[in-house]
Symmetry: C2
Subunit: 240 residues, 2 copies
């Protein structure tokens, strides 16, 4: 049943790791079934490549997949994904806090390194960094045992007018977003107040005296705020 083809591929293949990570990522901040075409789009490969690769993941016991059905991870698949995510985020943290990278510069480097470093390296790095709970973009770093604590967070495009809160996470996929935030002095944990103009773009209020900052649609999909409370008037209170 399992292993009907050669199945020489191992858990150490960077492709396998990338697929597993991509499947995991799909459900990390949203609840959507992972279909072959969605995976293909995310990984920039043809649909048929996904079919083939997923069959290998199934052989390796990492994924579950009924023909024409959605794709999901097994327990060990999830464990592998979490291990990769842990690596990625610890490495990003290291690059920023120890080597002085900007938070917009770390993604690609981490993407490479996560496949290369040993488990011992990860363990030592974690200790060196003081077991950080989250990475430079606010993403929680899974513990060595695979447990993760996700902070309550809402994507900006799902937040109603007048809510206030702290910037909990920023998607690291678009460096441009990160540089935009840098330009406006917005970092993790910044206090934000959300205002919807009538039909106009969402605006962020950064403080009582700061001017409103209009943000485009891409931004609202990249920013997540937490500790949200409805505001009264236009005064920022301490939302948390």
């Amino acid at each position: 049943m399992a292993g009907r083809r050669g199945a020489v591929l191992s858990i150490e293949s960077t492709s396998v790791q990338d697929y597993v990570k991509a499947i995991y990522a799909f459900t990390e901040w949203q609840d959507a079934a992972v279909t072959a075409s969605r995976l293909a789009a995310r990984l920039s490969v043809a649909n048929s490549s996904v079919t083939g690769m997923v069959a290998k993941l199934v052989d390796l016991g990492l994924a579950e997949h009924r023909k024409y059905g959605p794709i999901s991870l097994t327990t060990s698949g999830r464990a592998l994904a979490l291990a990769m995510v842990r690596r990625h985020r610890l490495i990003e943290t290291f690059l920023v806090t120890e080597l002085g990278y900007g938070w917009d510069e770390v993604h690609d480097e981490a993407e490479q390194l996560e496949h290369t470093v040993s488990d011992a390296f990860v363990a030592r790095l974690d200790a060196k960094l003081g077991r950080p709970p989250r990475d430079p973009h606010g993403d929680p770093i899974p513990a060595a045992d695979g447990s993760v604590a996700y902070p309550p967070a809402y994507r900006l495009d799902g937040v109603d007018d007048g809510h206030a809160g702290r910037l909990v996470r920023v998607s690291d996929e678009d460096p441009g977003v990160l540089r935009f935030l840098d330009r406006h002095g917005i970092g993790l944990d910044a206090h934000l107040l959300v205002r919807h103009g009538a039909g106009s773009p969402v605006e962020l209020l950064l403080g009582p005296s700061a001017p409103a900052l209009p943000v485009d649609a891409a931004l609202t999909r990249a920013l997540w705020i937490g500790g949200s409370v409805p505001h009264e008037g236009c005064t920022l209170r301490n939302p948390l």
Copy 2:
């Protein structure tokens, strides 16, 4: 002339980098012609693999090779080799000084990472470490411009009876050697006095009161001492 076959291989291929590094390593601490069979032995591949790969290096302008002749690096080949050596040694230094690895544990990890990290990473790491002149095994770290300062050093099996000096470098190829030195409390820069018993193995004297330490042939090929002066009596003086 150049590029007579497909030659799509690039300077980023880990194999290319390993071959170039291996060719460089041959002449780093000795003066021997690099023949195909020696390269094959060092890289654990068949002779014919070396012939093929060296042809690619020639196409890439990294190596020079007349049929049936010895193999040497071009200027850009040497530059690539030095860049790889720099990466390797900086990474080893990082692993030891920042992550607490033992000097016997870093070689393999560095061997992987050196192919993965970016130039920016190397530059930042170098700065973070304070531009160290040598790695944990005493090997000099090439500067970013490719310059290297080799300390005068003599391999122990070429040192006559009665010479004294500091431990300048230890080959990192055999972790067992490094652990042996650890067990006896010998680190880089340790003062050593060399004594040849009649027909018996070489002995090291570590200090006026310490007992002589017999070392086997493998050890004498892994240890390099510098600042060598003939000793008088059995008293250790400051050799440098």
